[in-house]
Symmetry: C2
Subunit: 341 residues, 2 copies
Amino acid sequence: MKKNNITIHDIARMLGISSSTVSRALSGNPRISLKTREAVANLAHEKGYHPNVMASSLRRGKTKTVGLIIPRINRHFFSNVIGGIEEVLNLSGYNLMICQSDESHEKEIENLKTLMNLRVDGIFISMATGSTNSEHLKNCLSRGVRLMMFDRVDEELPVDRIVLDDFEGAYQTVKHLVEQGYRKIAHFSGPEHINVYRNRKRGYLEALKDSGLEVTSGLILQDVLDREKGYEACLSLLAGKDVPDAIFSSSDFSALGALLAAKKKGVSTPGDLGIAGFANEPFTELFDPPITSVDQNSIEMGKTLAQLFLDKESEERVGSEPYTIVLKPRLLIRKSSLRKT
Amino acid sequence: MKKNNITIHDIARMLGISSSTVSRALSGNPRISLKTREAVANLAHEKGYHPNVMASSLRRGKTKTVGLIIPRINRHFFSNVIGGIEEVLNLSGYNLMICQSDESHEKEIENLKTLMNLRVDGIFISMATGSTNSEHLKNCLSRGVRLMMFDRVDEELPVDRIVLDDFEGAYQTVKHLVEQGYRKIAHFSGPEHINVYRNRKRGYLEALKDSGLEVTSGLILQDVLDREKGYEACLSLLAGKDVPDAIFSSSDFSALGALLAAKKKGVSTPGDLGIAGFANEPFTELFDPPITSVDQNSIEMGKTLAQLFLDKESEERVGSEPYTIVLKPRLLIRKSSLRKT
DNA sequence: TTGTAGGCGTTATCAG
DNA sequence: CTGATAACGCCTACAA
């Protein structure tokens, strides 16, 4: 940005009025005569006036910007959340500053610092897998930052939370597998310290229990979240002594890996091995067979997050109780888990 | 963000020195005694001092922020570009403000306005399909904004540009199809006003010509960029009078649609219908058969963009000639186009 | 090596 | 209805 940026003082000078009048006119203050307001608006438009957001933020102590920290933007879930947030936020003139933690604790701390320096009005975060503690978040809170968490949250922190009912999503999925006649259902899980994986596993266990099925520890595999791991895990399951007849994965990526591994081994899906994933990544419905998955209501999550932020922001309800909003998942049954017809 | 933000004045008062000394100490100015510098650094750390970026930007006329306007963040290509940009930019302490135009001209204008108000130091943009003219960009330029374009660029504007050699990518792909024995090659294209689609089509035409093949206008379909359109287009081609034996698509999504349509119709790929796409979306290598595609060197593009920006920024080479950097594509030959063995 | 003073562009307060 | 003035937090001549 070069120099010649026009300011309210320039406009004031040209119009022979004071800069405070210009400022008021620009903000639509009704105490300024219509004539003046129009004159200012016209000249501002003509000269291409762009208000200096920094000056205004500095003066008002509000940036009208919200920071977002997520592991990765190229996950279907997160890019949808972003869409939802922006849809609501932009209507109120807020901007969104997106930061990727890349699943790293250090980057997450870095992002947090950046956003604090920027003096954003609020920070939305979904934690990195690398973050096994929340010291950095507590730090923020003690500074009075308006922090809100979603999806991967710390369930202890006194902050607003928007989460999916992961337990329910998992429970329904496993129940569905059981209904389809699967009896030895394996589970791919993620790090124990992350609520979503913990809850999905709980749902899995509960569904097995309610179905009168035994839990086989060898069928529960930790940290199987990407395609490669899913592929390997499936191969080893198929070669092991406890061969499952279905897999419920906490991740669509590892579910896909499993599907590919099964195909490779000539194990048919859904006939010999039922498969279900989680997150409703776009590719799940395109494969042959299409993969059963759980939709996370991502756009809605983004909207809810932003709306709650705006509500609290306008109400000045500073010390109000933190909310926890739980959204419902939606099981999408596709061919990969349909054995009966 | 509540209030109690500590400032350099607070630190100055506590230490019994002046705020300018604190400012200098914080910026590592060697003219401040080591003792003072350490004292300041310690207290700042202890009290959790966070510099107010807006105040400093306002004062210096630099925000250390770059704006990015892209059609969609959830495209493999764009999220990789973002990764590349951030990798380079963050090292130099710059932030990236990401805006999605959603392929809409109006949103693009809106984004531009936002970024100008924010006084970002530079704007990187890849144009929306909805933008059929560049008036808004000229506007920016006349204001002295450092604008840089990539991928979908306006080839007339006097700005730095990083592009892929789309012509070459298309040419190689079609040549490859010809080598595989395909003779009636159809093409899915995008809007004519977008350079990348224009150039890909040129590459397609040139390759046909150089191979002594005729151009059949009925085999060139416009605006076939998403899965649905690709599906429909393929069906109509297969049902038409000029049935192609291969399709070169400007988009992986429509290539996928074509593959699914062919499968549906019992037309085998690559046997009866060779298929190649463009962009190397992750799903292309996962399908059965894996889809031949062209890698766009996206991370490199992001890095190059950011590096060029930084270079020019540091050299203060304000009026220097605009660069156009052309990156090489990489043809990834997969089963969908391999007929010979 | 450190302090003083002024200003970046806005807005809020207080006067008129 | 409008103007003067101060302040937001920081940086940087210029002085000492």
